[in-house]
């Protein structure tokens, strides 16, 4: 076998592929939403609600998947392939069985391989449609959400600590440096009600006048709301975690540059030894060019001649 170079045929395809390239500073993760062979009505609704919350940055698959079992070895190959295909690194997988009814698996991938998994059961679910509120308050698509985590179990319980991180990663949206304060309009509220279960709800934020520059916050529940009961969870492998937590080196401090209130920006310049003796001489050196020298001579000559008649 020999290798052949395959490149995209169109510039557009090339641009799309370049979007999949690893970035120094990542801006956001895409979410893949899919389900197993069987789902309940509740789970269908949960998945579509999650898709609606993240519609700007998510892919939803509607076909049945019979060979996905993320917790079992060999059952994740198909999932990893989908992750590669759709360039998604957050996975929401729903399945429904007698043993684990209304089962939701939240997973993350690193380099298109499973990084960690949390399995939760959905209980007491209330869909987005069932909430009645003034539609003017509905959060805008893609706005940066607030998060409120309540309860000591998020620190003491291993499962909930993990779930908290996954939930934050799942719903945090785009990573931004600059935030428009006018666009603050939603909050996810997660309350630990027991060491394994979390009451989660999604609210709209209303900014009310308070007389100061800081507005008074008011919450209006817009749904969905549900209880998540942690079933199984798999933490990332320590070495993989270390690898995945790497960040780009912050820009190095510029050497020999100081700031002065009076003089402004100041720099020290050190000249290295010029090593003139070692310089190789070639014919390209300007001073050695015969035509130039002659032209210069001629010029001076003509100038002198011009001067003389005057």
């Amino acid at each position: 076998m020999v290798a052949a170079i395959r490149v995209p045929r169109s510039q557009r395809a090339k641009r799309e592929l370049l979007k999949h390239a690893p970035k120094l500073v990542e801006t956001g993760k895409k979410t893949l939403i899919l389900h197993g062979t069987k789902t309940s009505a509740v789970l269908n609704s949960v998945l579509s609600d999650i898709y609606h919350l993240k519609r700007d940055n998510a892919v939803k698959y509607t076909k049945k998947n019979d060979n996905i079992r993320p917790f079992e070895s060999g059952g994740e190959t198909s999932l990893e392939f989908f992750s590669l295909k759709t360039d998604c690194s957050l996975i929401v997988y729903g399945s429904h069985s007698k043993k684990r009814p209304n089962n939701l698996i939240l997973g993350r991938t690193y380099d298109h391989h499973i990084y960690d998994l949390v399995e939760v059961g959905v209980e007491n679910y209330k869909s987005m449609e069932s909430f009645v509120y003034d539609k003017k308050l509905a959060p805008k698509l893609g706005s940066k959400p607030f998060f409120a985590f309540i309860g000591e179990h998020f620190e003491t319980s291993e499962e909930l600590k993990h779930l908290k991180e996954v939930m934050l990663d799942l719903f945090k949206g785009e990573v931004v440096e600059n935030l428009n304060l006018a666009g603050v309009d939603r909050i996810y509220v997660c309350t630990a009600i027991s060491p394994t279960s979390v009451y989660m709800t999604h609210c709209s934020l209303r900014l009310k006048r308070s007389g100061t520059s800081i507005p008074r916050m008011e919450l209006v529940e817009v749904g969905p709301s549900m209880d998540l009961v942690v079933r199984r969870h798999r933490l990332p492998v320590e070495s993989l975690k270390k690898e995945a937590m790497k960040t780009a080196d912050p820009a190095k401090k510029m050497k020999n540059v100081t700031k002065d209130p009076v003089h402004g920006k100041l720099g020290k310049v050190y000249m290295p030894d010029q090593e003139v003796g070692k310089l190789t001489l070639s014919n390209d050196i300007k001073g050695l060019k015969r035509e130039r020298r002659e032209a210069k001579k001629n010029k001076e000559h003509s100038k002198k001649q011009k001067v003389n008649p005057e």
Binding site: M1, A3, Y110, F147, F149, E165, N178
Partner: protein, 297 residues
């Protein structure tokens, strides 16, 4: 009022606020173990969440804003809760063979102009690419030298040399890309696909492997090639109905209807007109004309 304010500030100091993620966490709060009423739980959560949202807002809205047309914009600090990356950090591309050589020899890159003066055509031309300086197409005459071998076409030779240079460059590029792939620094738009070696002794262009569609269409044709059009035949498992069942030919009504009118007459007129106008001086060959009509319909 003052007491209330004091209470909120003391509570706020217990919250952990991560402004980078706009997140607030209250680790001290303990939800009553047995909550009989769901509505009560909801009320309590929303009450607490309002406090937490306020705690985030207190810090967020205190940041110095940059007034923009769309609203005040603040710069968020980097988040304290660290989340894993999606993909590995981009790996640096290894230097190519030429870059290694150039570094060893101390050869530095210098920029060339995009356009150069072409002596052949006496005009400015591209340095590289189509319609460039010293283009093979622009050379009308190659002067013979004493060293030239007789019977060799200098133009063809030039073309051949160019082709070889291009092939060599392609090979070098492939080698460089392979080395980049080894360290995982292949540009994401390039794939190195395996290509089978041509087997010696066998014709290079082997018959194409039949595709699924071909097989399906053949199967469909075979199943309908009975007197009943395959109506009473047993279907094979996975067999699909033929792709284009039904009528292929369309006949116009013989009797003039209301809507269609005399379409048939018009069609024949059209054909006749075209025939007659083309060969107006020839006599009409009835046999030929009728065959044309048959092929048309």
């Amino acid at each position: 009022m003052a007491e209330e304010a004091a209470a909120t500030t003391s509570a706020a100091s217990n919250f952990e606020v991560d402004l980078g993620h706009l997140m607030a966490y209250d680790p001290s709060h303990h939800v009553a173990a047995v909550i009989c009423n769901r509505a009560e739980l909801r009320e309590e959560c929303l009450q607490k969440a309002t406090d937490l949202a306020q705690a985030v807002a207190d810090v967020l809205f205190a940041l110095p804003p940059n007034e923009d047309r769309d609203g005040p914009i603040v710069r968020l600090p980097p988040p304290t809760t660290r989340l894993p990356r999606e993909k590995h950090l981009p790996k640096p591309k290894p230097p190519t063979k030429w870059e290694q050589f150039a570094k060893m020899k101390g050869i530095t890159k210098h920029k060339k102009n995009k356009r150069e003066w072409d002596e052949q055509t006496q005009s400015w031309k591209r340095t590289y690419g189509y319609d460039r300086v010293n283009d093979d197409r622009d050379i009308p005459i190659i002067e013979a030298k004493a060293t030239d071998e007789p019977g060799v076409d200098p133009f063809a030779q030039r073309k051949e040399e160019k082709k070889k240079r291009v092939e060599k460059q392609d090979k070098n590029r492939l080698e460089n890309l392979k080395r980049a792939a080894k360290v995982g620094a292949l540009p994401s738009h390039i794939q190195l696909a395996a290509k089978a070696l041509p087997i010696t002794g066998i014709k290079a262009d082997l018959p194409k492997k039949s595709r699924k569609e071909d097989l399906e269409s053949v199967a469909g044709m075979a199943s309908t090639a009975t007197a009943s059009g395959g109506k009473f035949d047993e279907k094979l498992p996975g067999e699909k109905p033929p792709k284009h069942p039904g009528k292929h030919r369309k006949f116009l009504p013989v009797v003039e209807g209301k809507g269609i009118g005399n379409q048939e007459k018009q069609q024949y007129d059209k054909v006749l007109n075209s025939l007659l106008s083309k060969h107006s001086e020839d006599q009409l060959d009835v046999g030929k004309a009728s065959s044309k009509i048959h092929t048309l319909y």
